[in-house]
């Protein structure tokens, strides 16, 4: 270790020389510091490439609420009734969100202001996710240390710092619940494992508070409240029941539940919802176990105890089943929600809840995205599982269960790769750490043997290895070196892959689009913000904007206008009404729009730029969701032989529905690409089928420079008719 000092005296230098243990500590701390910084700066690509801005859809809502919280204080935030969204129903924001993220950001903001750093709340919001990602690396280190050893902890910290599966949700600007929640999730798990390992009430209490933070931050807390009971159940079944477990679980469950009830959005779900019943069941089971243990302790007769055991277990199971059955029947315990079902049965959403299936991040995961997000971790994961099974303990059982369950969920839904990432990193870290340790142990022991036998002096391991090529056990040693190099190669490949993925794929704000021009130059499409600022500047303050729900949060946050539906998809009927309006003929749609007092209609259109996630490509989902509530909308009407097309061969209803008209209005006159006819849609690569579009009840109000966002005004009823 290079210790910086000006004194040339060698004695003094010697006195600075650290002992091995201190050296190790110093290395460890500096590695952790570097990882902490690395985790933060790798997430800044988006800020450097674009600007310090909030990304995507949900973060805009979070930003808007955070702004409200800073301006109006906590109680107004808690009781906020927002009448700018879900017109005319409104939304009780305070009671329908997880406030953890906003409160965290405002806390950081307040602290910074207290320290006289006059930052804007937006900067805090932009950097919240990277900051928490850095904190996650620390938690990963301690967690790894807890389940394996410090080496595994360090590797885990490094792996998780740059793992694309996590970066995808935590780049600067991605101000979403997940950014904070993954930290909270891992922290809760760490504290719980610590509590199980130590049996300490204090750690258990800490994990309850960690759980409270998680509940306040993200709906994914359901994963914790189901995984931990499952883990406890597995320990009970495998005969690993202990007093430590009893203390850890009971304290964590009871306190965690009470604390979680303080979050308005969660409320009484812990005692009333089917998803939380497993935890309660296991809680009672623990008491039965404890009771049996006590009885066993009191009764010396084994036979008598066996009989007692049988009766007690039967009674307990019967009482539990009856209670559950009664609760379900009386409606006191609500059944599982659609989202929960769709996790257990991947095909459920597709058949029953199109609104869940329509979200791209709810799709089943493709193999390629596993490779993309995990890279070598995908291969290290099974190896890590092997090591875990080889050295089973309460902690490794936990991480194995966490890894396996979350991997299953990651396969069901793309977005849940995020939840699996910490487990995958930890288990892979165990594999890397254990392998490297084994190999170096092998190398070192050989080295020692060789060094004592060899006449050559001590040198670097490389030189000695060369010298030992033709020694007694060359195969094992060379193999170890080769494997070490292999591991080094793979890990460096992982690092380059992660950096590349972060910079290329996950740092796009998706509100500003970038493309390569004909000469390789970078073209920026800033159409979204252009449109939202147009709305803000040019429409009356109480104008109502109808758009598909994807853009609702952005319109309220950036355009400051009332929307009919937004990304908080709490009312399916309302969304279906909008879907119905979009897929009806204009004169039917105008009736719906008048009934909702719509003043403007906003559509997103990618035909000019080739932007493929536009409303025409989302249109079938509007039809499905609309048709799910209003059977007058039938999907086959918009398809030709089961095929979705917009060219001349398209279905007549498709060519004349409102969405088609609004997207392609005046597009038939436009030349988009050299050598193609006018009205050539670049997103779908076809010439459109209806070029002569006349609007009767709507008029074009604004179209952005690249035609990505088009805004139409609803005309007042005819004056003389």
């Amino acid at each position: 270790m290079a210790t910086v000092t000006n004194t040339p005296v060698s004695d003094l230098l010697k006195s600075f020389k650290l002992k091995t243990k201190q050296q190790e500590l110093l290395i460890r701390v500096s590695i952790l510091c570097l990882v902490y910084i690395l985790a933060f700066i790798i997430r800044l690509f988006s800020v450097l490439r674009y600007e310090s801005m909030i990304h995507e859809f949900d973060p805009y809502f979070n930003y808007r609420t955070t702004l409200y919280l800073t301006q109006n204080g906590f109680y107004d935030f808690w009781n906020w009734f927002d009448y700018e969204s879900w017109y005319p129903l409104g939304r009780i924001i305070g009671g329908t969100l997880y406030p953890g993220l906003m409160v965290t950001a405002v806390l950081i903001y307040r602290i910074l202001h207290f320290l006289r750093f006059a930052v804007h709340i937006r900067e805090v919001c932009v950097l919240t996710a990277p900051f928490f990602a850095s904190n996650t690396t620390l938690v990963a280190y301690f967690f790894g240390k807890e389940i394996w050893d410090t080496g595994a902890g360090l590797v885990a910290a490094i792996l998780i710092a740059i793992c694309p599966g996590y970066i995808s949700r935590s780049v600067a600007g991605s101000y979403d619940n997940e950014g904070v929640a993954i930290f909270a999730l891992l922290f809760t798990f760490y504290l719980f494992v610590k509590a199980v390992n130590t049996g300490s009430l204090a750690w258990s209490l800490a994990s309850a508070f960690g759980y409270f933070y998680m509940v306040s931050a993200w709906g994914g807390y359901v994963f914790i409240i189901n995984l931990i009971p499952l883990y406890v159940l597995v320990l009970l079944i495998t005969g690993r029941y202990s007093m430590r477990l009893y203390i850890a679980y009971n304290c964590m469950y009871v306190l965690g539940m009470l604390l979680a009830m303080q979050i308005r959005f969660v409320g009484f779900q812990h005692v009333q919802s089917g998803e939380h019943m497993a935890a309660m069941g296991v809680f009672f089971l623990m008491q039965v176990f404890y009771f049996l243990d006590w009885v066993k302790h009191m009764l010396s007769d084994t036979k008598l105890f066996q009989a007692f055991l049988r009766i007690t277990v039967t009674c307990a199971v019967a009482v539990g089943t009856i209670a559950l059955g009664l609760g379900m029947l009386s409606g006191y315990i609500s059944p599982w929600t659609g989202r929960f079902y769709s996790l257990l049965d991947p095909t459920y959403a597709k058949d029953h809840i199109p609104i869940i299936a329509s979200v791209s991040e709810h799709q089943p995961t493709a193999w390629s995205s596993f490779m993309f997000d995990y890279h070598i971790l995908l291969f290290l994961f099974p190896a890590g599982l092997y090591f875990c099974f080889k050295r089973l303990s309460d902690a490794t059982i936990f991480i194995v269960m966490y890894g396996l369950t979350s991997m299953y969920f990651a396969g069901v839904m793309v977005r849940l790769i995020l939840v699996a990432t910490p487990a995958v990193c930890l288990i892979s870290a165990i594999a890397v750490s254990a392998t490297v340790k084994n190999l170096t142990v092998l190398l070192r022991s050989k080295n020692k043997g060789v060094l004592t036998g060899s006449t050559k002096g001590s040198s670097s391991s490389k030189a000695s290895s060369k010298a030992l090529l033709d020694q007694s056990q060359p195969f094992q040693k060379n193999g170890a070196i080769a494997l070490l190099f292999g591991a080094f190669y793979l890990l460096s490949k992982y690092a380059t892959h992660c950096t590349w993925v972060t910079s290329e794929a996950y740092s796009s704000p998706s509100i500003v689009l970038a493309a390569r021009g004909a000469h390789g130059n970078r073209v920026i499409f800033d159409d979204y913000r252009e449109a939202y600022f147009w709305l803000r500047q040019n429409t009356p303050a109480d104008a109502k904007v109808m758009s598909w729900w994807d853009y609702g949060y952005q319109i309220t946050a950036m355009g400051n206008r009332t929307v009919i539906v937004d990304n908080n998809t709490w009312n399916n009927t309302h969304i279906a009404t909008v879907g119905r309006a979009m897929s009806s003929y204009e004169d039917e749609a105008i009736e719906i729009m008048r009934s909702l007092d719509v003043d403007y209609v906003l559509v997103v259109f990618g035909g000019v730029t080739g932007y493929s996630s536009d409303d025409i490509n989302k249109f079938l989902w509007m039809v499905r969701i609309g048709g799910g509530v209003f059977p007058v909308i039938k999907e086959p009407d918009y398809l030709v032989n089961g095929e979705y097309r917009v060219d001349k061969g398209a279905a007549p209803k498709m060519l004349n529905c409102l969405m088609y008209k609004l997207c392609y209005y005046r597009f038939g006159e436009m030349l988009t690409e050299y050598g193609k006819p006018p009205g050539y849609d670049r997103a779908r690569g076809v010439e459109i089928g209806n070029k002569d579009i006349k609007l009767e009840h709507l008029e074009e109000a604004f179209t952005t420079s690249n035609w990505i966002v088009r805004i139409y005004k609803v005309k007042p009823p005819n004056n003389r008719w």
């Binding site: 808690w78 009781n79 009734f81 005319p88 409104g90 003043d599 003389r720």
Partner: protein
């Protein structure tokens, strides 16, 4: 200007603002400029009684020939006139910048129009009428003929001078005093377009009337017959511009205004036809001298407060008030009716209440906000025949209880309070016993 701006503020469809701003102007309602377009200036004398009655009501008439090359309704984007009288049925093309769209735009920006046609009516005139929801008989030589209720005159004519007393039953349009004498009419028939919900037949022909060429033999059954024939129609547009369309220019002429009338088959003989009363009353209506309402000071208050809240809470008690006035021709007078209703509306109306009036134009209601949160509207939709349509709405959000507005202690929950406090006490005692009793 303040009351005016209030009035406009409450009009829900904001986009109509520009139209409304130019419409009937309550600030100088008496000093209105009317452009009268004539085929030739002799009409000025042959219809002088009608024109004089307009002038006597403080309307500034400006007579121009319909082909005057300097014709223009607006200058620098401002309309020069408040109303237009088209007494030029045979004009094929207006002079100056005036054309069909200019006339329609004039109406759509809230100005009034009187249009009279006769058997010489040109396509231009007919097209203007069509735009307003009135279709004249396509046969250009056809006239309204009635062999049963024609006017008895010295010579046995072709029965194209008919009499009609089939008026619309509306005091707002035709005045309170009943028109005793029937109206003489000589002109062409029109029908109202059934797709148009705003056009009203003011004077209809009798069931025995039909529209045909009086000089030729009737070969085919006439297209327009009986009561389907409208002689005079009015339209009140959505922006409250008022339009009157008559199939006869002679209806307004001094000759018919002064003629004695006797309906065929009737013994009643009137020394003067009902035309003068009819055209005067209906022109009063067209020029907003009757039936013009305004609603101002739409206010709502939480009971016991004086400032208008920006938001209500569910189950709040509120008071709603609005003032409605009617223009009497000289000043605003309170409008008294017992059928004005207010709705508290979100997707459908949650509260529907008839407003009580104090007889001075103030309408009041008080009710409880329903136990539903959302963005509500106070809506007053008042549509009565001949009166200005009042469609007021004012958006008001209704929020649920705040966290500290619920009852803190509920009697039914006393067992729970008892349980928790005994639990706490029990735990305390148990801890002491457990820790120190060994």
């Amino acid at each position: 200007m303040k009351s005016l701006s209030f009035f406009f503020f409450f009009i829900f469809i904001i986009s109509v603002f520009p139209f409304l701003c130019f419409s009937f102007n309550p600030e100088s309602p008496t000093d209105r400029r009317v452009l009268v377009l004539l085929d030739d200036f002799s009409l000025k004398y042959s219809h002088s009684i009608f024109f004089n009655s307009l002038k006597s009501r403080c309307l500034n008439l400006e007579f121009k020939l319909s082909d005057d090359p300097s014709l223009s309704l607006q200058r620098y984007g401002q309309y020069l006139y408040d109303a237009l009288i088209l007494f030029c049925p045979s004009t094929k093309k207006f002079g100056g910048s005036l054309d069909l769209t200019a006339v329609i735009d004039f109406v759509d920006s809230g100005h009034d129009l009187i249009l009279a046609a006769d058997s010489t009516a040109s396509d231009l005139i007919k097209n203007i009428a069509t735009e307003c929801g009135v279709d004249f008989d396509e046969d250009s030589s056809a006239m309204v003929i009635d062999h049963k209720s024609y006017a008895i005159s010295g010579t046995e004519g072709d029965h194209s001078l008919i009499v009609s007393d089939d008026f619309i039953q509306s005091g707002a349009i035709l005045g309170k005093t009943k028109i005793e004498a029937p109206v003489l009419f000589k002109g062409i028939a029109h029908s109202v377009n059934s797709a148009n919900s705003l056009v009203l037949k003011v004077l209809s022909a009798s069931p025995s009337a039909y529209s045909a060429n009086p000089e030729s033999k009737l070969l085919n059954p006439p297209l327009l017959t009986g009561s389907a024939i409208s002689l005079v129609s009015v339209v009140q547009a959505r922006n409250n511009a008022r339009i009157m369309i008559a199939g006869s220019l002679d209806l307004f002429s001094n000759r018919l205004l002064r003629t004695a009338v006797q309906k065929a088959g009737s013994q009643d003989k009137y020394h003067k036809s009902g035309n003068e009363q009819f055209v005067t009353e209906i022109s009063k209506w067209v020029f907003h001298e009757r039936g013009h309402l305004k609603a101002v000071n739409l206010r709502h208050l939480r009971v016991g407060e004086t400032d208008e809240p920006a938001m209500y809470r569910i189950k709040d008690d509120l008071k709603f008030s609005v003032e409605i006035h009617e223009w009497s021709g000289k000043n605003w007078e309170p409008y008294v009716a017992d059928d004005v209703q207010v709705q508290f509306y979100m997707m459908s109306s949650y509260v529907l209440k008839t407003l009580s009036t104090n007889g001075k134009g103030l309408y009041l209601a008080s009710f409880k906000v329903p136990d539903v949160y959302g963005v509500f509207q106070f809506k007053v939709d008042y549509h009565r025949l001949g009166y200005t349509s009042l469609s007021l709405s004012k958006q008001i959000p209704v929020r649920p209880f705040r966290h500290n507005e619920y009852e803190r202690f509920i009697t039914t929950a006393f067992p729970y309070y008892g349980a928790s406090f005994t639990m706490m006490a029990g735990f305390f005692i148990f801890s002491i016993l457990f820790l120190y009793n060994k």
